[in-house]
Amino acid sequence: MAGSSVSVDYADAMITTPIAAGDWLIVAPSLITMLGGALCLMLRKHTDLQPKLGITLLGVLVLASFALLVRVLDHGVITMVMGNWLPPFGIAVTADTLGATLTFIGSVVAFCAGVFGMKTVSNSGRRYGFYPFLLLLMTGVCGSFLTADIFNLYVWFEVLLISSYGLLILGNDRIQLDGAVKYGVLNLVGTNLFLIATGLLYGIFGTLNMADIAIKVAELENPASGTLATVAALYFLAFAMKAAAFPVNFWLPASYHTPNIVVSAVFAGLLTKVGVYALIRIFVLILPASLGYMADIFGLVAIVTLMTGALGALAQTEIRRLLGYLVIAGIGSMLAGVAVASNSEVATLAISGAIFYAVHSIIVMTALYMSAGIMNMMGGSYNLRKLGGLYQKSIAFAGVFLILAFAVSGLPPFSGFWPKIMLVDAAFKDDRFWLGAAILVSGFLTTLAMGRIWIFAFWRGGPEGTPDGKSVEVSGSSQSDLASGAIWLPLGILTALVVYFGIQPEWMIELSTQGASSVVDPLGYIRSVFGEQG
């Protein structure tokens, strides 16, 4: 330590070799958003400067996370240990293809939301801190995707949760506080379970480094022991809450329709997927034996979640609540992938399906919530009974909505089709016919739910009660904003991605297969954390 004259051999405790400058890309996503969020916080009163600064920083984030993805594809898994301490004592931040892909897609979505927010977030929303919160939310999201330390994962969860509370109550409406209480209480319970499970895990293994735990779990004689089973069950419940899986899904439709539409869009795209990501990381990478005997529970939860989501969506007339249920249905599909991953023969296929589905769901759910916002601007309501005649108002928007509707239902040729094929294929190969059937039935019901929006909001001439063949003009809530590129550009980018991943799926299949193999076969991950001797 400083000032001591004793000579110390630092090589016993610290990494002494220089770090390649490119490895700094691992911390870049969190660092850029943290510094940017702090800067935006200081300049909170300058409401006209906020969007410019925020969107620029989110643009830099997109570039940095793309550079990180490219570097991971070139160099394989890369690791940087904070403070140069040797792992497992230093906190390792590790980017594999899974983390880097999700970081990149998440950054693109955040950028789109930042642009969309230029019009939908008022000056008072900016003063309340929309851009700082959005940036700090991304700090937490990117940090979660890239950390290799389980307690650090908890910290990033807290960072993203606190920012999400801020975004949720932006504007302080009565209904927002009501939604925030439900969201807050459930997440509080969830993160506490997460913390308790982490404490137990540390008690068992004496380490928090995921790679180190993976090694120690693999060396256990009895990996199905009671204590470890408790830890696994607690993690499952905690992340299922975060991901809004049945039976802890009720908070999502109860809160996601309350905030500003762009906030709903970001939440629907990113937050639940962080929970699914954590499930994949914990169960496939470090607790595969626990996944083995919990697979049937995962499968059952997946089936019920798929059905709850799809049936709930059919029953709703509020578009935002309807979309909330579709988010839940998507979570069911990803859980199905995790359940099938217990069979090592199809694990890579199943997890790559889940990863691709997560990517697809991040993009398409954000785009759908943005479309709901545009429908409100055009038709003046989020209620299917009051909407109508939007097809006449904008044929192009109707087309975009139809693309997104096809994609979320899993119909070709859009992005939802391929991951569903992979997941159903994996489920059938694992002899889980009910799981495969549930994915297909849920997709069919989703098609019906989206068809209802399409028929009522777009094809019908006017609000409920308009006779066939007649058209009634509905007045929008903010027609003037519809001329702005800030509304159409983000929706365009996201729809283009949906179409691209549908028509050219090879790149994303390649990425998700690589990402899946890095968690299914963790050797590369462990080597990257501990150096070659690991």
Binding site: I19, L31, M34, C40, L41, M82
Partner: protein
């Protein structure tokens, strides 16, 4: 609450507490203390000053909005970790600058900057909550 005794003593008490919080902040690296606990002490100084002399005078005294102070703390805290980039070391590796100043050894370091960042974040965040609560009470 606003008795004469309290109003007379509060400014001195607040000043002492801020001074003590800085002392706690600076001794924090090798001994008990540090940015978090120092920040809490400083935030309670603001709270006491606010109860005695009104929130408006606290806001005038600290010049910047508490959330701005928080943001600045977060900014320098994160920036302190970046210094190691220029020496080819990992994020957050501590850098030390040790020199003698009139025969007293002074150790400046990035952990110190980080700790000052934590201190400011805590002062800003807790101070902002405390002032908001006190403001509501006086309505």
């Amino acid at each position: 609450m606003r008795t004469v005794i309290f109003r007379t003593i509060a400014p001195y008490l607040a000043a002492l507490m801020v001074l003590f919080s800085i002392f706690v902040l600076l001794r924090g690296h090798n001994e008990p203390g540090g940015g978090f606990i120092g920040g809490l002490i400083a935030a309670s100084a603001l709270a006491i000053f606010g109860i005695a002399c009104g929130v408006a005078s606290v806001r005038r005294a600290i010049v910047f909005h508490p959330m701005g102070i928080s943001g600045f703390g977060l900014f320098i805290g994160a920036l302190a970790g970046v210094v190691s980039f220029f020496r080819g070391q990992a994020f957050m590796t501590s850098q030390w600058l040790i020199f003698d100043f009139f025969d007293v050894e002074v150790a400046l370091s990035t952990p110190l900057v980080f700790d000052i960042g934590v201190y400011l974040v805590v002062v800003g965040a807790i101070g902002s909550i405390a002032l908001a609560l006190e403001e509501r009470e006086s309505d």
